[in-house]
Symmetry: C2
Subunit: 241 residues, 2 copies
């Protein structure tokens, strides 16, 4: 490995020159990548297809983006701008809930976000992610948390975990071409059979099946809300009284 002056070369250090928009630019590439990711999922994005979508050759993209991983990091930061956090000083609990719900909404709008972010650890340092973290830190500090970063990590872990599995589920459903309720109905026999011999599990599946048949979206919303309240209750206990 070549030793380098800058210890950790970051995408964000290199600034893009021309802010105008000729056909091919980093901004245009990232924007189109997000469109493709949203439409066809993470494994449908290839440099060649992305290039074709931009009326460019595959290898032309490498003039503006060092590698595909870097492109993914840029795409994550692009959509991270959509996550909102109420200003510091807002009533804490409602504000935290709002931030969490905004994260979930963004993650469901871009189903590749959660898993990509989760697999990145803390290595993504894009400006939008940084400003997002900063706003969260400001909110929790103003609320009076003695260890705001701990509280934030807890909330984010819950939100990321729930959003990742939810997004994965929705992706699977979408790929099946069926409606969510229909897909569940088709999956049910296999699930029931796998659960045979496991009493609690079988019962839970049966319950879920009847409830979900009514309105899967509401069920998922309620599930997320339940866990969110649990975490917020736990956090509130850490606030100095």
């Amino acid at each position: 490995m070549a030793a380098k002056a800058n210890p950790v070369p970051s995408v964000w250090a290199r600034e893009q020159s021309a802010p105008d928009q000729p056909a091919l630019s980093r901004a245009a590439i990232v924007r189109e990548a997000v469109v493709m990711l949203d439409a066809d999922g993470i494994e449908a994005l290839s440099m060649r297809k992305l290039g074709a979508r931009l009326n460019a050759g595959a290898t032309s993209l490498y003039r503006h983006v060092a590698t595909k991983d870097e492109l993914m990091e840029l795409a994550v930061d692009e959509v991270a701008a959509e996550i909102t956090v109420p200003p510091a000083g807002s009533p804490w609990r409602a504000a935290a809930a709002e931030a969490a719900e905004s994260f979930r909404a963004t993650a469901l709008r871009h189903p590749w976000l959660s898993s990509t972010l989760g697999q990145a650890g803390l290595a993504y340092l894009g400006p939008n992610l940084m400003s997002y973290s900063e706003r969260l830190a400001a909110l929790f500090t103003a609320a009076g948390f003695p260890e705001p970063s701990r509280a934030i990590d807890t909330l984010l872990s819950y939100v990321i975990g729930m959003s990742t599995t939810e997004a994965a589920w929705l992706t699977t459903v979408a790929r099946s071409g069926e409606t969510e309720a229909g897909f569940i109905a088709r999956l049910m026999p296999a699930a029931q059979q796998a659960a045979s011999g496991h009493d609690h599990l079988a019962e839970a599946y049966a319950d879920a099946a009847t409830r979900v048949a009514v309105d899967p979206v509401t069920v998922r919303d309620a599930k997320f809300a339940y866990g969110l309240e649990v975490v917020l209750d736990g956090l509130e206990m850490r606030l100095p009284r």
Copy 2:
């Protein structure tokens, strides 16, 4: 490649099936896949390399496994057997904490587990995962939770979210070839620069840097434990008294 094109076929030259290794079987394939995943990470596992490791051609594996995705599902279920859950009726809170910690330990032992599981949604129905869910359901039901599956989903979301980012972090560190503290020290300048202008963030980074320089493992353990207590506190409030 240098397959011995033996010019003089002889009964004696032909090596006999050695008993040293079991023939190709689904179990052997999955076992070796887990070994490779643990050693070199998820993107280093290819059907060809796995076949070579088993003294078999790449395509031979397809006699026992339908697809690589199916192989991953089998691998997940294989290591899922390592996660322990205390028997139903154990003191609830300690038992739940124990189950969560066992999950985390398994996820860190097999850093590909969390992300693979998260991306699968609820589609994995292997026997070990089912029995794991069943034991959790039994534990939470016995504890008296009115909606055990909700409580379980909450706890699991937190644990999966935290473990995924932690495993990703450790993978990144391992790939750098440095010690964890050393990697952090090298990453710090970039992080500080990215955080410039974000006051709370910069302070949080500075705090983390000094604390982590002492012992990163303890810091991560404490971080997980904090969030776990938060979630358990929130859950305990849902228990009828």
